[in-house]
């Protein structure tokens, strides 16, 4: 141990211990996860269009998927933006009841979205093992459904935390970040719906 000697000190004890928005490190990790999953979505969509160049008729041998469930699912995802934005806005205030209502609404809409997704998958125009087109469509929807389910579970977990006394400090920031990830799920939902329902009709 070197002898005690005087050193100028940069005192940071006054700094806060919780930050919201871009300054939070978990927000950065969430952004990086979105970049990873965004790349996976982009690559599956790229494979979809690559295989499209390889076959003469697209969708090969089947009719384009019916629009009904596609539009419903897209609409529900757009609606889900409201509770997500609400939860994000009230998170910094630390008001537990508002946060609980926000998360409850978000979880409810997520359940509806999953049910609609179930119907959507059942009414697709093909089964995953028919041909390359069907496989990529199911891969795209399956990838998104995976994200939908994990995001739903995350929302439920944070909802449970909000009922305990631990819902403060960095946990409040987690609520806001959870809503960021929900925006990502909505964006990829709209994108997947457009690729699956749109390209076979308009492009």
């Amino acid at each position: 141990m070197d002898p005690i000697r005087e050193r100028p000190v940069l005192d940071v004890s006054g700094l806060p211990t919780v930050m919201f928005g871009k300054a939070n490190t978990t927000w950065l990790a969430n952004l990086l996860y979105m970049m990873i999953e965004g790349t996976m979505f982009a690559l599956v969509v790229a494979s979809y269009f690559y295989l499209r160049t390889r076959s003469s008729s697209w969708p090969p041998g089947n009719l384009p998927p019916t629009l009904g469930w596609g539009i419903t699912s897209g609409a529900i995802f757009l609606i889900s933006l409201v509770p997500a934005r609400y939860a994000q806005r009230v998170a910094p205030s630390g008001d537990r009841s508002k946060i609980r209502w926000g998360l409850l609404a978000l979880a409810g809409v997520a359940v509806i979205a999953m049910v609609v997704r179930g119907f959507e998958l059942a009414n697709l125009n093909c089964r995953w093992n028919e041909n390359a087109y069907a496989s990529t469509v199911w891969a795209l929807l399956g990838l998104h459904t995976g994200h939908l389910i994990t995001e739903f579970i995350e929302t439920v977990v944070i909802l449970c935390v909000s009922f305990t006394d631990k819902m403060e400090g960095t946990r409040l920031a987690d609520v806001a970040i959870n809503s960021d990830y929900w925006y990502f799920v909505v964006v990829t939902a709209i994108l997947s719906d457009f690729v699956i329902y749109g390209t076979t009709r308009f492009l």
Binding site: E6, V9, G14, G94
Partner: protein
């Protein structure tokens, strides 16, 4: 937050308070709860080195089978497993885990001047996932289920019809494991570099090693998903009848190649950039001067990061692609030589205007200069399409990528090991044994792989388990096999040197080489809290340009594991963040995820049922515990300025 005037700083209680706060549990179960980056970094290095030795044994067996024509030592089935598991082990289980995860996880937090890596539990989870993935491939090899379709397993050979059984499934799932691990560590390293740097270490004062780890992490984040998508597609084709690669129903075999090589080429830069990071660090230390051309080197590293994603089709020139796209990729493949050339010239200028001390790490870096240069230049030959039509998939290519990978990653790795082992173990490595190791390895390497250039030019294709005597390849193959003996001897000398120096080596002290980066400010081996006083930085080489009474950071709580978070551009202190402590849950989550992945090989429902324990263990991992740091509601963020 102005600098307070010089104030008496009481040192006495801090060390043991920090030691208690940052202590990691000991004992058998404690081993699995350890989340400190030094422990995880050393584990990555040791485990990947063990798999390097195992991969080397496979290479020796392959060379023994090729020693003479029509040699019946190893049959085709076993030989195909040998070269596939050798390739997969060296790339996925050794090169990336050692160069990116091993050195990254250990060195980056030290160099940033912080106490632990960001998201330490995710870091520990990544290590366990990597180990399970490695064991999966090797247990498969012992059970005759070793992958046998090559390390990039082109479809349709690795597809459902031409590889019966579970061989390609084990390989594809191993890929998913190692990529989840690499992505996890990439997130930890990116956050640590961007947000946990010591105050004063602005972007243009960051050591080059941090720049390269940052660029490598971003490359990992954009490249690894591509191989996860393609290995999952292959797995789904083999288990649930999807038709991605079935040419008869619209599938396409080239889709596999495009998706794999879109990951494949950034992958080799993910291995190479950490190597140039070590070279830049070591050259500056042993030329006793700042690196020449800091800005050109950092620019060329970032350029390599981008260009790495634009050259992948040079692996597919022989598939008969239209001439137009082939010439674009030739141009891109030639362009990517420029950034590396810039770095070579800057290193040469650093040595030219420095004062060279040819100590052991520097000897290996000179080995890198001579060997990698041959690999890089034969790469220029491969970039031109007509030449690639002749030498693609021959032993010329085998020689090229061994010169680029062994020359480009292994030589800097040994240089980095001789450079940092005194910091890790606290003892200096023996100089004489190090030189013997270098010359044995250098001679053996060139003997084995330089002859392969001629084998390739004489038309010997890649991955052949034997050849007929009339082809007149016997003599060169014999020469190549002799080289393996020297290399093996060299590696054994290194292992002996490591264990001998660990026990009886000279004590290294905090800074045996007089280096300039922050990790040499900690005692060696460093305690679990790394820095007794969190440092501040006012130059590119922190220790060389530190003022006599360089300010330290005070006010970070010592009773909870807290680190200072600074903003990205000019590393102004922003807030204090409490890091999660040691916990068994990352290990349990890794086991649950492994069970789900391996179960999904045998039944498609494996993912669905396997996901339930994964969710449970994840909740156990992320559930908030312990006291919450600030009972009161947080007031808006204070505006903290670092006034100089």
């Amino acid at each position: 937050m102005a600098i307070s005037e010089p104030v008496v700083v009481s040192q006495s209680g801090a060390a043991d308070r920090l030691a208690r706060t940052w202590a990691q549990p000991r004992g058998f179960w404690g081993w699995f709860q350890n989340v400190h980056h030094t422990a995880i970094g050393v584990r990555f290095m040791v485990t990947s080195f063990i798999f390097f030795l195992l991969g080397g044994v496979l290479a020796a067996m392959m060379r023994w089978q090729l020693v003479r024509p029509e040699h019946n030592a190893i049959g085709p089935d076993l030989y195909n497993q040998l070269f596939t598991v050798h390739g997969s082990t060296m790339i996925f289980l050794f090169a990336v885990p050692m160069m990116f995860q091993g050195f990254g996880v250990y060195v980056v937090p030290h160099m940033c001047g912080t106490r632990n890596i960001a998201f330490p539990r995710l870091n520990a989870f990544s290590y366990y996932i990597y180990v399970v993935g490695a064991l999966l491939l090797w247990v498969g090899l012992f059970l005759k289920t070793g992958a046998d379709a090559g390390w990039f397993a082109y479809v349709p050979l690795s597809g459902p019809e031409f590889t019966p059984g579970k061989r390609s499934d084990f390989w594809a799932q191993m890929i998913t494991f190692t990529e989840v691990s690499a992505l996890g560590v990439a997130i930890c390293i990116t956050t640590t570099i961007l947000r946990y740097r010591a105050p004063g270490m602005t972007l243009n004062r960051m050591p080059i090693l941090l720049w390269e780890k940052l660029v490598t992490s971003i490359m990992v984040i954009f490249a690894m998903p591509s191989v996860m998508v393609v290995s999952s597609m292959l797995l789904m084709d083999r288990t649930i009848n999807t038709q991605f690669f079935n040419p008869s129903v619209g599938g396409d075999v080239l889709l596999y190649q495009h998706l794999f090589w879109f990951f494949g080429h950034p992958e080799v830069y993910i291995i190479f950039l950490p190597a140039t990071a070590i070279v830049s660090t070591v050259v500056a230390v042993f030329a006793r001067r700042h690196i020449f051309g800091y800005v050109p080197i950092v620019t060329s590293v970032v350029a390599t990061g981008f260009l790495g994603f634009s050259v992948w089709v040079h692996h597919m020139f022989a598939t008969g692609l239209p001439q137009m796209s082939a010439s674009f990729f030739t141009a891109a493949s030639l362009m990517i030589v420029i950034p590396t050339a810039v770095q070579f010239y800057c290193w040469m200028a650093t040595i030219w205007h420095g004062r060279l001390q040819l100590k052991l790490p520097m000897l290996w870096i000179f080995g890198f200069f001579f060997v990698f240069l041959i690999g890089g230049l034969s790469g220029v030959m491969l970039a031109s399409v007509p030449l690639d039509w002749q030498v693609h998939d021959t032993f010329f290519v085998v020689a090229h990528f061994h010169y680029v990978l062994i020359g480009g990653a292994l030589f800097p790795m040994f240089g980095g090991m001789y450079f940092w082992i005194p910091k890790i173990t606290g003892r200096m490595m023996n100089d004489r044994l190090g030189k013997i190791h270098f010359w044995l390895f250098f001679v053996g390497f060139n003997l084995t792989f330089f002859t392969m250039h001629f084998l390739g030019l004489h038309g010997m294709p890649r991955r052949v388990y034997t050849y007929t005597p009339e082809m007149r390849w016997g003599a060169l193959n014999l020469l190549a096999t002799i080289g393996v003996v020297f290399m093996t001897a060299g590696i054994l000398v290194f292992i002996a040197n490591f264990f001998q120096s660990k026990a009886t080596g000279r004590f290294a002290g905090p800074n045996p080489w007089g280096a300039g980066s922050l990790e040499w400010a900690t005692p060696s081996p460093p305690p679990h809290y790394n820095f007794l006083e969190l440092p501040t930085v006012n130059g590119r080489e922190a220790l060389w340009e530190a003022e006599p009474n360089q300010p330290i950071v005070g006010g970070v709580r010592e009773d909870i594991p807290e680190v200072l978070v600074t903003n990205t551009l000019d590393s102004e202190p922003e807030y204090r963040d409490e890091l999660p402590g040691p916990s068994i849950w990352p290990f349990l989550t890794a086991i649950a995820v492994s069970i789900a992945f391996i179960w999904s090989i045998f039944s498609p429902w494996g993912i669905a049922y396997g996901a339930i324990p994964v969710v449970i263990t994840l909740i156990g991992w992320l559930w908030p515990r312990g006291h919450s740091p600030s009972p009161r509601v947080p007031e808006p963020a204070l505006e903290a300025r670092w006034i100089r």
